[in-house]
Symmetry: D2
Subunit: 341 residues, 4 copies
Amino acid sequence: MYSFKNDYAEGAHPNILHKLIEANFNQQAGYGEDAYSLEAKEILKQKIGNPQASIYFLSGGTQTNLIVIASLLRIHEAVISAKTGHIYANETGAIEATGHRVITVETADGKLKVADIAQVLKDYSLRPHVVKPKMVYISNSTEIGTIYQKAELVELSAYCKSKDLYLFMDGARLGHALTAANNDLTLADLSALTDAFYIGGTKNGALLGEAVIFNRPEIAPEFDYALKQRGALLAKGRLLGIQFLELFKDDLYFSLATHANQMAMKIAKVVKEKGYAMLTDSTTNQIFPILPNEVIEHLNQQYEFYVWKQIDIEHSAVRIITSWATDEAKVDEFISDLKRF
Amino acid sequence: MYSFKNDYAEGAHPNILHKLIEANFNQQAGYGEDAYSLEAKEILKQKIGNPQASIYFLSGGTQTNLIVIASLLRIHEAVISAKTGHIYANETGAIEATGHRVITVETADGKLKVADIAQVLKDYSLRPHVVKPKMVYISNSTEIGTIYQKAELVELSAYCKSKDLYLFMDGARLGHALTAANNDLTLADLSALTDAFYIGGTKNGALLGEAVIFNRPEIAPEFDYALKQRGALLAKGRLLGIQFLELFKDDLYFSLATHANQMAMKIAKVVKEKGYAMLTDSTTNQIFPILPNEVIEHLNQQYEFYVWKQIDIEHSAVRIITSWATDEAKVDEFISDLKRF
Amino acid sequence: MYSFKNDYAEGAHPNILHKLIEANFNQQAGYGEDAYSLEAKEILKQKIGNPQASIYFLSGGTQTNLIVIASLLRIHEAVISAKTGHIYANETGAIEATGHRVITVETADGKLKVADIAQVLKDYSLRPHVVKPKMVYISNSTEIGTIYQKAELVELSAYCKSKDLYLFMDGARLGHALTAANNDLTLADLSALTDAFYIGGTKNGALLGEAVIFNRPEIAPEFDYALKQRGALLAKGRLLGIQFLELFKDDLYFSLATHANQMAMKIAKVVKEKGYAMLTDSTTNQIFPILPNEVIEHLNQQYEFYVWKQIDIEHSAVRIITSWATDEAKVDEFISDLKRF
Amino acid sequence: MYSFKNDYAEGAHPNILHKLIEANFNQQAGYGEDAYSLEAKEILKQKIGNPQASIYFLSGGTQTNLIVIASLLRIHEAVISAKTGHIYANETGAIEATGHRVITVETADGKLKVADIAQVLKDYSLRPHVVKPKMVYISNSTEIGTIYQKAELVELSAYCKSKDLYLFMDGARLGHALTAANNDLTLADLSALTDAFYIGGTKNGALLGEAVIFNRPEIAPEFDYALKQRGALLAKGRLLGIQFLELFKDDLYFSLATHANQMAMKIAKVVKEKGYAMLTDSTTNQIFPILPNEVIEHLNQQYEFYVWKQIDIEHSAVRIITSWATDEAKVDEFISDLKRF
């Protein structure tokens, strides 16, 4: 069995493991003050073109989302998300557990538009009987594989500024978004257009780790307290620093994501050639082909993946995920099996 | 400069790093369902002699404390801790942030006794105007290096049972406790005498990781939800599983802790021979010599450690911590420097 | 101007005020242990036919909802509500502020059905990545004036039991529900069919007050702590006790609600005679006629009420609320004005 | 039996009850927008000499404390209180339930001094491993009957400003403080010297109600949301407005408190004449005589009061509370009984 079930089935890129060994007996300060973390942060500031940014390394996406949101919002404030957003769909109420409502919007493509936000503001206008929407949460790439175009983000950003809303981007799969064929955004754009965003390591070659970036550090001047309070400050912060040092000291992060995307697109091409539809218009490492159930059954004998959604009595959408570690030979086998059925 | 500042200045025991590399490209299920985690849990169940226990791997001590406590307590319930307890002294209000008071008791040795708990129950009897004490939190070894004797734990355990209080042991430095010269407790004792406890990896050779054990799984049957909700469920759970697999597949965990203790005791012996007092009666890897300030200054030129507490105008207590990774040659240098001043 | 805007525009039924004066200088125990509260609770236990029930008096609906829900749910559990439910639509995220998600269901009539709950359970099955639905929250009458029939409640109750879900009924307008023409439920039915429910005083003749009833007291044995912790325990609990004593020592509560319903139905009859549609099929004291905008404008010059929802370019639904204090002469004027336009 | 157990054993001053009746059928806007509340707020702004202040009416002290503190503090911030402070000693962990630690200081007289705060800031300096002290909570009068002198409050206020700490005064018994013989503070002083304070109604003649005043409204510009979210916004806000209107439209509030103080001082005089000591140096309506246990037993046959604290084997301190409603004839009887034993 080969797994296309997720992008965290393997360990880490070997460079990271080797660096862990190389650095192992260097004594370092704890709690993120180690030399590796400091260097990684400097590199990231350069890559995003924002020397003023403040950067923190956390272990995972849910942890990052909940601590960022709990730190920025006041008790009566809420965050707006697509209904497919990770904070609503996959995090066991992590945001609500910090006291805040997640206001959801139905979308076809997993992306929020200005009109969606405007409608929420209208729906939540009967102060003080409703929460105050104060943050917009978006994911790039989204949970269904789509990405934001620069024009879309520019528009969202301007609207959020005009309404005094924070714009926060979940970048658990940011590498895949920024290396998609139709992407026109850069890290520097994200730094200019969002209040905070994060660069996901876990799903793109790291053992663990998300790098959260406050582009205007004044909005979270005491985020270090929050990290410690919520159990996110690793004693051996070097573990996180080394992930990002290795991923970003050159362009490893992007080349890994490119590989993942290419593997998915290679499959997608064949899916379309076979005349199958796609549930979403993904250009990244998650694709959702709509296949006959018998094809799914056949494939499932050799490949693991999620059956995502029943479409009709004879068809279902499946989710195929590729990653930095996906073996192209296995992709080719999958394609040939797919062609065969 | 050599650091005796903490027990997390280095990376991990090489066995762990090698296993990470060896296992790296084996595809595994996520979120703690990987083969390494499952195997590590089986081994731990054997070691504690409790096949019914439920075990979870978390990243760090604060995270473990807050999720265990938030999972077990009802909204009006509180936890009792020594004032030196990590949950009160070093975790940025993590427990209060989940809604619960930490009721503190002043102690000389960092350990809670039955009389302390009884006094708290008396002080908190004016229902419903006070919180309801419902859990006793103890650390072994304590934050000041002392350990619980079996007779003490037996007494505490019986009292807690009689008063329907949970007994929860923070084992961030459990290895050091269980390998101390004066220890008479075993892992099996802990499983029999506490409701929950954890085995700390971070401070004893792991990159990260604490193994929390519910000895009576019925008290936390849905702990997995809590892990995910609080951001503690690593996608690549293998990272945690491998730490504990390597530490416990043989007795590495205990031999590492033994080394740490021996290094501290070697220093302690000389401190006492020199006629210096100790702030606490530690038998583990943290010692608190009371030294003349000028000696401290000299030592500080070559060794890093915390000045813990001013004793009088000319003396202070310092904290010297050794670890699994402490170089005995450096210990010998330190001792010779200490003798010289 | 006469107001049909809500059912809390006036003070309290005079009996209550007179009793406050009569009892004023009798010294009483505080915090709900006064003789009036104790007597009122005994009367209520008789009326619901459940001598084992535990009863508490709180100040208002939001307070009641949030404390009951926070007391019953564990940290990873959620409550299911109609999207029109007060806890979702009108309480400023009070439930989320206690850490719990409100899972919403779109309904036409404001009522939850078994199929709705079953769908939620299916949607929230990917443990532990989703919250665990554990409570069903319903309102009777609903926020849009409809009521539950006994058969509906029996079915819901059985389903909740079979799925180990709490069934909690918000009775802010319970009097209006139980005195509606099409009602077939009794207080005793509610005690038998729900885990907890409350009897609203504020909107039916009291100065303030909701009586929450746990039909199985073992589910909230320490609710008194929660009341105090959330600021709901009035020092002068007599204030609340006297409200319910006066409302329930005879059938005042029901006669007040009957009046409110009759006034609304009197208006509704004319609305329908005039050929106007209703937004919802209300049989209680809130009705939602769909009127031409020019009629609304005319009426608005003499009567206050909410314009609830735009229906089309020329029509809107308005909300007309009557109460125990509504003056029938004003209702008649309103009707005659409505007929005229 | 006559009760000296607390200052909320009776109902309300008759003026308030009469006004409730007089106003009863005037239709009013809900949720604190009624004419009575608005007028009461205007009067209070005049009395405190601060037209910019923002004022809200809440039901009780615990509710007020928890909502003010939760509104002002960020997630990692804490409040400093005397260990006798109501928020620590009597509110069932209400503050911790909102996520914040209450840092306590042992005091002899229930009052915080600058040196106390300075010590806390020193103890809590190891950022980010500790919470950040951000608010100082004081009570006036204190829970043990003492009051702040103007010079003390001026000093505290200046220190808090210099350290960027909020200064918040719990005025549950503010009337008693401001009418004590040794008082030199005015409402205007409080408005100038604190960031927020409240004027307690419940314990001084109201049925219920505390008036919280933000002297610099910019620190809590959206407090109305918090009120609603925590269940504190009464639908019939008129109930609260009328309490404060009647208490402050002339000087009723102060004359009621003066009576209470006089009754307590009358008893205190005799206690001292009889040669008994006092536990605290109270000048307000709560006194704590230290009496022989047999005297206590005798008195207890006719009077209710709390035995506060055992002093030695033969003596205990009792708490005698008087109020606006205390009958002077009963005080005289008590005195004569006290003299007799």
